[in-house]
């Protein structure tokens, strides 16, 4: 299978131990798999936390979790899904496939790559160790000051938040730097920056957003830590600090983070949809520019998370207008994907199903995004379940469905085994039913006045029915992931068939064996267009540009 190359040279003797060879690996494919496997485990833990939340909210006055446990669980659910699930899954895919797709033998800094993985894994374990050491962070993933100050959060919970988040942000920054430099430096001959596969382009933009956004998070977390440990008063309102300062610094990171989470999945969409439609990506340059535009705009809209904080009318209008604008490049992508499918000869394998699910679900998240960007509507729905519904359509309906599409698409390349299509389709439909049952009624509940982050609610509010309905949906969704888990386990235990190019792909990763050998390619292929493999298969219909 994968070779031992790429480990530290002085550790050669230790390679007899398989475990150690994985622990010390600097091979981008192995690190990619480590990232994906670790993140998938964290993702399942975050999912279990979601189920606990749903159980607690299934009935008014339920006693499944007390308020203290509930607050820890919903905080850790958010932190886990964002920092330990979605982001590392994206970095894992990028680690494995960016070098393969650009015709490189590894990432440019393999040892740095290992460092960022281990920072992530240990950061995650550190964060979770808090459960055993006095409790997990319990003030929400955005940890609004002054509630996070010592006066209101004694103990170590928020110190775990600060230190854990700093470690994870450094890990992601290092990973982003590696991805950026790899894409700049290691592209195959003939692959100009406008001819990289769209997934690679999206990872480039994502990583650029990352290196500019994460420092802000580090600043926020570091200042909080100083407040708590050295007694500075940045956010300590009782002694001259300022609560808004926290929100500005945090959301300057926090909103770009949304695009860090969703652009990689959009990149996967832009690979899967063309291959399964048998057509090139419609309007490649328009999609590339819209991705870049989203990247730039993402840094100018942070205060739309703060519409209800008493901002001046002029700021409200600026941030509202800016936020509306992001809808335009997003719309360009959606319509370009539809146009890619239009007139294609579609193959309805599981990757395309999840991709179509992404389109429909993400559109809902986008539309409700316009709703919450409209200031007067936001004054009603912010901090309610409407927002929870909105961002789950973006992050579940978008990011997660995109990742699942990528999982089914690239699994044969990573393992030499095809996931079961039957189980795949079953899991797709189960998840689609389940997720809509969970997340759609949230919009209604928000409009019906249900604030988010409440551990219980009175019976006379009329919220009970749809909460129970959502809980049922949550378990159906969980069933869908159970099917995926079974699919993974069964497939991994089966004999590999090593299909080199099972989907009749377009890009360089399909020109090498499955799984690829050490250093990926016997010979680095020369590239003339965006679909080198298509050109090789169809010289008569080769891309002209």
């Amino acid at each position: 299978m994968t070779s031992q190359a790429g480990t530290f040279p002085y550790m050669r003797r230790a390679e007899k131990s398989k475990l150690l060879s994985w622990a010390l690996t600097t091979d981008h494919k192995r690190i990619g798999i480590l990232y994906l496997a670790t993140a998938f485990i964290f993702f399942l833990v975050g999912g279990i936390e979601a189920l606990l939340i749903r159980l607690q909210l299934a009935q008014p006055g339920a006693q499944v979790l007390g308020p203290d446990a509930y607050n820890q669980v919903f905080t850790m659910h958010g932190l886990t899904m964002i920092f330990l699930g979605a982001m590392p899954i994206a970095i894992g895919f990028a680690n494995y496939f960016v070098p393969l797709m650009i015709g490189a033998r590894d990432m440019v800094f393999p040892r740095l790559n290992a460092l960022s993985y281990w920072l992530f894994a240990l950061g995650g374990l550190f964060m979770y160790s808090s459960f055993l050491l006095g409790g997990a962070p319990d003030k929400g993933w955005f940890a609004y000051a002054p509630m996070t100050e010592r006066a209101f959060s004694p103990g170590m919970r928020m110190d775990f938040w600060s230190l854990g988040v700093i470690g994870l942000a450094i890990s992601s920054t290092v990973g982003s730097i590696n991805i950026i430099v790899t894409i700049f430096q290691l592209r195959a001959r003939g692959m100009s920056i406008t001819k990289v596969p769209m997934f690679v382009w999206n990872m480039l933009i994502t990583s650029l957003i990352g290196i500019f956004a994460f420092p802000s998070l580090i600043v926020a977390a570091a200042l909080l830590l100083l407040d708590r440990q050295l007694g500075t008063v940045f956010f300590n309102t009782a002694q001259g600090g300022n609560a808004m300062l926290w929100q500005h610094i945090f959301w300057f990171f926090g909103h770009p983070e949304v695009y860090i989470l969703v652009l990689p999945a959009m990149g996967i969409m832009s690979e899967v949809i063309p291959v399964f439609s048998r057509k090139p990506l419609f309007g490649f340059m328009a999609i590339a520019f819209s991705t870049a535009a989203i990247g730039v705009l993402s840094f100018t809209v942070w205060a739309h998370h703060m519409f209800s904080t008493g901002m001046s009318t002029i700021s409200l209008l600026f941030f509202a207008a800016d936020s509306f604008l992001i809808g335009v490049p997003t719309g360009v992508k959606i319509f370009s994907w539809l146009a890619t499918m239009w007139g294609g000869k579609l193959r309805f394998d599981t990757p395309l199903l999840f991709a179509m699910g992404f389109i429909v679900m993400f559109v809902i998240g986008g539309i409700t995004g316009i709703h919450v960007a409209s200031v007067p509507v936001d004054w009603q729905v912010t901090d309610t379940y409407y927002v929870v519904g909105h961002f789950h359509y973006v992050l579940f309906g978008g990011t997660i469905l995109g990742f699942l599409s990528g999982l089914f698409y690239w699994f044969p390349k990573m393992t030499g085994r095809m996931l079961s299509e039957r189980l795949g389709k079953l899991s797709f439909w189960t998840i689609m039913v389940g997720m809509n049952m969970v997340f759609f009624p949230m919009h209604y509940l928000g409009l019906a006045g249900m604030p988010r982050r409440i551990y219980t609610y009175p019976a006379d509010t009329g919220w009970a029915f749809w909460n129970l309905f959502e809980t049922v949906g949550a378990f159906i969704t969980a069933l869908g992931f159970l099917i995926i888990l079974i699919n993974l386990i069964v497939t991994l235990r089966s004999r590999p068939t090593n299909p080199q190019d099972p989907w009749d792909g377009f890009t360089l990763e399909w020109t090498t064996s499955s799984p690829p050998p050490a250093e990926n390619f016997a010979e680095i292929p020369a590239v003339r267009s965006r679909r080198p493999l298509w050109d090789a298969k169809h010289p008569d219909m080769a891309d002209t540009h």
Binding site: R105, V108, F109, R111, T173, I177, I180, V181, F184, Q185, L186, R187, M191, I211, F212, A213, F214, P215, S216, I218, V219, A220, A222, L223, L226, D227, L230, G231, T232, V233, F234, Q239, G240, G241, N242, L245, H248, I249, F252
Partner: protein, 188 residues
């Protein structure tokens, strides 16, 4: 830094590209910090407002020391570009020492202000801006120490000295950040 970087599409050494990316990222670290300071300054009277010239003695001299280190850094870089390794070692050592003197001066300045972090908003700001900058400068000192020892070992040539180049970039950058901090803390 990895000297033996791979062939590159950009025509530039990968370590240099990486350093540029790092410096871009750093800018978004100091940016929010400075913004946080200006944000607080908009709300409360800054205790150093209308500081007499004498107030500027320590930070002023310190700034001159840092600027001198930029010159010596440049001399070190120029030495290795024409292959003079002993000169590189000498100038990088001088730069490193000037950096340490600067950090010592910063500590002196901070303690002479009689500000503890918890006194008021600005004690913390002062500590944070100067502290994070000093940490960066110490990172630069470590890079220069590595350059120094490798120069003594004869690792560099006129053509192969990317570690010196990126260390110099980092050093210039940290000095430039200080000029910004000096301006907003003392002059504006």
């Amino acid at each position: 830094m990895n000297q033996a970087t791979t062939r590159s599409r950009s025509g530039m050494d990968s370590a240099k590209v990486a350093m540029l990316v790092v410096l871009g990222s750093e800018t978004f670290f100091f940016g929010p910090l400075v913004s946080a300071y200006l944000f607080m300054r908009g709300m409360y009277p800054w205790p150093l407002d209308g500081a007499p010239l004498a107030r500027l003695a320590v930070p002023g001299v310190n700034t001159l020391i840092l600027l001198a280190s930029v010159v010596t850094m440049w001399l070190a870089l120029r030495a290795i570009r024409s292959g003079r390794q002993p000169m590189l070692a000498r100038w990088s050592a001088v730069t490193l020492l000037l950096g340490l003197v600067f950090v010592a001066g910063q500590v002196l300045e901070y303690t002479s202000n009689n500000m503890t972090p918890s006194d008021h908003g600005f004690g913390g700001v002062f500590l944070t801006l100067m502290g994070f900058h000093a940490l960066h400068l110490l990172a630069g000192v470590i890079m220069l120490a590595l350059v120094f020892f490798r120069a003594r070992l004869g690792d560099f040539t006129a053509r192969r000295h990317v570690a010196v180049e990126v260390s110099a970039w980092f050093w210039y950058y940290v000095a430039a950040v200080w000029l910004v901090l000096f301006s907003v803390l003392y002059l504006v």
